[in-house]
Every structure is written in structure tokens, then in C-alpha cells.
Amino acid sequence: MTQLLDHHELQDTLGKLARAIAGAAPRDVPVAIVGIRRRGETLAKRLLPLLEKAGIAPLHYGVLDITLYRDDLTTIGPNAVLRGTEIEFDVTDTWVVLVDDVLYTGRSVRAALDALIDLGRPRAIRLAVLVDRGLRELPIQPDFVGLRTDTESHHVVRVMLKETDGVDEVVLDDRGNAH
């Protein structure tokens, strides 16, 4: 097991992400931060105050549940727990930043794009991820990346966050290893 980010590095990485997003955000279009359940949701929530500090306000915030849009539903089966999408604003004509923890095959992001577009017509959608581990299966690339790392398919990148896991840490592990 290799540690990729410890608590401080994770906070710094989020700060870096927030500054990059703030630098790119348009000033004349409402900005929305949308986290993909579940860890993308937590990361998006943490980015909010950082973005406000960087001068991006007002901000919309929402959470996307992509369970019903996944292409691997039949393999993950009843493990998929539906928690629901919570987007209370009209996404049409907003500049949306999708936030996820790890970018891997790109399939989650594909599902998120479909889910988001069913809600309206955003002016633009950008993708921010904490870790890009490579090995894409779809032509999807991030706009804002916290950490790029080369991995192999037998690896697992675990993003653990205080809110859901009690600790802030990102580790690279072997798929066979029990957590």
C-alpha cells in the first residue's frame, strides 16, 4: 500500500484545484459546483469555501446520483444504493464544474454527463478530479486535476475523507488486498 496524499497534501491539492477553477471560471455566467455521489459530493462541499475565498460567488451547489445512468448496473446489482440527485437550481445556462474523487475508465463521468444533460442545458460542463489514475476506456479528459498518477488495472485508488471515512488520505493499493 502506498500513500499518495496525506491530510495536509490533500488540503493543499484542493486549494490548488480551487484556484485553477477560479482562474478559469467565467465572470458573466452563474457557476455551479456539482459533486458526484458519494466522495465527489464531499469534495465539492469542501471546494465551496475555497472557491468563495478565491472570489467566485455566488455559487450553485448540487449533488448528482449517477446510479440510474451507469452502464455496469447489471454487474454491481443491488449494491447500487440510490440516494437521489439533489440539484435545486436550473442548470440551463450555468457553467458547471463536475467534481469526482478519482478519474479512471471515464464511465462514471459519461453517466454524470447524461444525468446532468437530462436536467437542462448548461452553458458548459467542466470536470475536476482529485486524482487522475489513467487507463481511460472512453474519450473523456479532466479540465482540473489535483494529482496525476500512473496505475495499473489491478490497483485500487482509495480516497478516504474525514466526513465519510474518519480520515483524510489517498492511497494506492492492490485490488486483492482487503481494506
Binding site: 466522495r39 448496473l73 447489471t74 446489482g77 443491488p78 447500487a80 440510490l82 437521489g84 447524461d114 437530462d118
Partner: protein, 317 residues
């Protein structure tokens, strides 16, 4: 993609046949899943691709426009294709016809059968003989699980909980699958149930199921958190054991006078369609205590959850 926590799935059933076979955890899982589906119906695009390419056949051997429509919309909002099978059938050839019909339909490649049938146990029988999912949409006087689930959902939504609530079910309990299903579901979630009706329609024998049975509606009103008024089937009113309509209204009808004796936040439910002025006075049915239309709306989300969960369970089988 992070490796999620792979806990043991709560829901592993490909059929939903009766509420009585569900554990507390399973019921709560359906209700929680339905919360996630509520949002879909509020969007401009009221559709998600979860059951895209799946076929749901609605087999209604008994007239029920609302339940059939609710299932049909639920399936369509999950992007499934729906087919209607409508047949009036003779009572003599029920069992034979049902299986024969079902096998023929299955041979066309359907994924989920939603069955409404006048014979108790029909859904169970079907599930034993076909390989696709079977969802019971009401079988005789036996069970109507999605009605119970949507009633539980509505109670939980309005009251914040089900456990510990005093719930009355009023009317022709003996012949009602809604009453039976609601009763079992409420008990599983820890509500205290009182059955109310004339002894011929709410017999004392129900006490063996651990519920209170009474024919004194007025006396129990002040204790109740929820009062579920069953629909009086007018065609049954000529049967022996049934009081006259006037007598029924006087003893068991819910009206604004009786409402004054209830808790200020009492919830009045009805599975619909209402016989206005018989079991429920019009002003109560349309008043702030009534959840009748909300039950219909919630029914859609609950049926989406049921179709989704059964299909998922079948897919990993």
C-alpha cells in the same frame, strides 16, 4: 473510480409477492430507494435509463385503471418498454389460463410481469413457473404489496416515522387485500394497528395477528395518528353481513364532525378511488389532513423502486 464498500446487499428478491415476506430492512430499503426516485418525476425530462431495453408486461385480469397506469408510468420513467395484456377470463379456467398465458408471454422475451389477478396466490403461482421477475399488483383478497409500500412511504413522509404510531384501518377489513398488506407492513415497521368495522367486516379473529379490533370508531378517534379509510365496494353492499349505506356512513364514515375529535395533525388516508359521501366526506377527502393525492404521487416512486430493485436482483442472479 474508487472501490466502494461492498456490503451484503439488502435486496436480493427478483419477485415482490407479498409484504408479509419482507423484513424491516427490506421495507426500509424500498422506501429509501423510492425517495431517490421522487426527484425523477419533478424534472423536465421525466426519465432515467435504468431499465432501458427491458420489457415490462402489465397483466391485469381485473380492472384497475389507476394501478395499471401507475405501474406503466413507473416502467416508462425507467425507460423500459411496456406491453399491456388485457383479458377478461372465465372463472372456471383461471389457473390453467394464467400459466399458459404467462408462458406464452415469457417466450416473447419479457423481463418483468406485473400481475393483477382475482385469485389469491396467483402471483406466487406464476413466480414458481416463470423465470422472469413477478410483481404482485393485487391478488384476490390476499395481498397488494405496492399499495402497502406506498402507504408506509406516505406515513413516513408525513410523520417522519412509522414506529410507535397509532394507525386505524377502517371498513371492510375482511375482504380487503389493502387492509391485509397494510396491516403486515405497519406491524413490521412497529406501528400499533387498530382495525375498525362492523364485526362481520372486521372480525375479532384478526386479534390473533396481534392487533386491536373494534366497532366503536368514535372512541378510538382521539388516539389515532393515522386513519386509513378503506374503499367500500358497492357491489359487495348487497351481500349479507353488510350494513345499509346509511348505517355505514353513520357508524364508520369519516366526516368533518368526526375530524374534530381527532388529533390536530391526524393523517387521513384512502387507497382510492373514494366513494365521496360514503366512507369519506368530500370536504375531508379534499382537506388538509388528507393524503389521497400524495399517495398516488408516491405510488409512482415506490413502483419505480420496486421494478428497479427486482430487475437488479434478477440481473445478478
Amino acid at each position: 473510480m474508487t472501490a466502494g464498500t461492498r456490503t451484503k446487499p439488502v435486496w436480493t428478491r427478483k419477485h415482490l409477492l407479498a409484504i408479509a415476506e419482507l423484513s424491516r430492512e427490506e421495507i426500509v430499503h424500498v422506501l429509501d430507494t423510492a425517495v431517490g426516485f421522487q426527484e425523477v418525476s419533478t424534472r423536465s425530462v421525466k426519465k432515467v435509463p435504468a431499465l432501458r431495453g427491458r420489457v415490462v408486461v402489465l397483466m391485469f385480469f381485473e380492472e384497475s385503471t389507476r394501478t395499471r397506469m401507475s405501474f406503466e408510468l413507473a416502467a416508462q420513467r425507467l425507460s423500459a418498454d411496456t406491453v399491456d395484456f388485457v383479458e377478461k377470463m372465465s372463472s372456471t379456467s383461471k389457473g390453467e389460463t394464467l400459466l399458459d398465458t404467462a408462458r406464452n408471454i415469457e417466450a416473447m422475451g419479457v423481463d418483468i410481469m406485473v400481475l393483477r389477478h382475482p385469485a389469491a396466490g396467483a402471483a406466487q403461482h406464476l413466480a414458481e413457473h416463470v423465470s422472469c421477475c413477478v410483481v404482485n399488483a393485487g391478488d384476490g383478497q390476499h395481498a397488494h404489496p405496492t399499495q402497502a409500500l406506498l402507504d408506509l412511504f406516505t406515513i413516513r413522509e408525513r410523520k417522519g416515522r412509522v414506529e410507535g404510531l397509532n394507525v386505524a384501518i377502517v371498513g371492510d377489513v375482511a375482504h380487503s387485500r389493502v387492509a391485509r398488506s397494510d396491516l403486515r407492513g405497519l406491524q413490521t415497521l412497529g406501528a400499533k394497528v387498530t382495525l375498525v368495522g362492523p364485526p362481520t367486516l372486521a372480525p375479532k379473529s384478526f386479534e390473533t395477528m396481534g392487533v386491536r379490533v373494534t366497532s366503536d370508531f368514535e372512541r378510538i378517534l382521539p388516539e389515532m395518528d393515522v386513519i386509513n379509510m378503506l374503499r367500500i365496494q358497492k357491489e359487495r353492499m348487497t351481500a349479507s353481513g353488510f350494513p345499509s349505506v346509511r348505517e355505514y356512513i353513520r357508524l364508520f364514515g369519516m366526516n368533518s364532525d368526526r375530524l374534530k375529535h381527532c388529533k390536530p395533525d391526524v393523517l387521513i388516508m384512502h387507497p382510492g378511488p373514494v366513494n365521496r359521501g360514503i366512507e369519506l366526506a368530500a370536504d375531508v377527502a379534499d382537506g388538509p389532513h388528507s393524503s389521497i393525492l400524495r399517495q398516488v404521487t408516491n405510488g409512482l416512486a415506490v413502483r419505480m423502486a420496486v421494478l428497479f430493485l427486482c430487475q437488479q436482483a434478477a440481473a445478478v442472479e
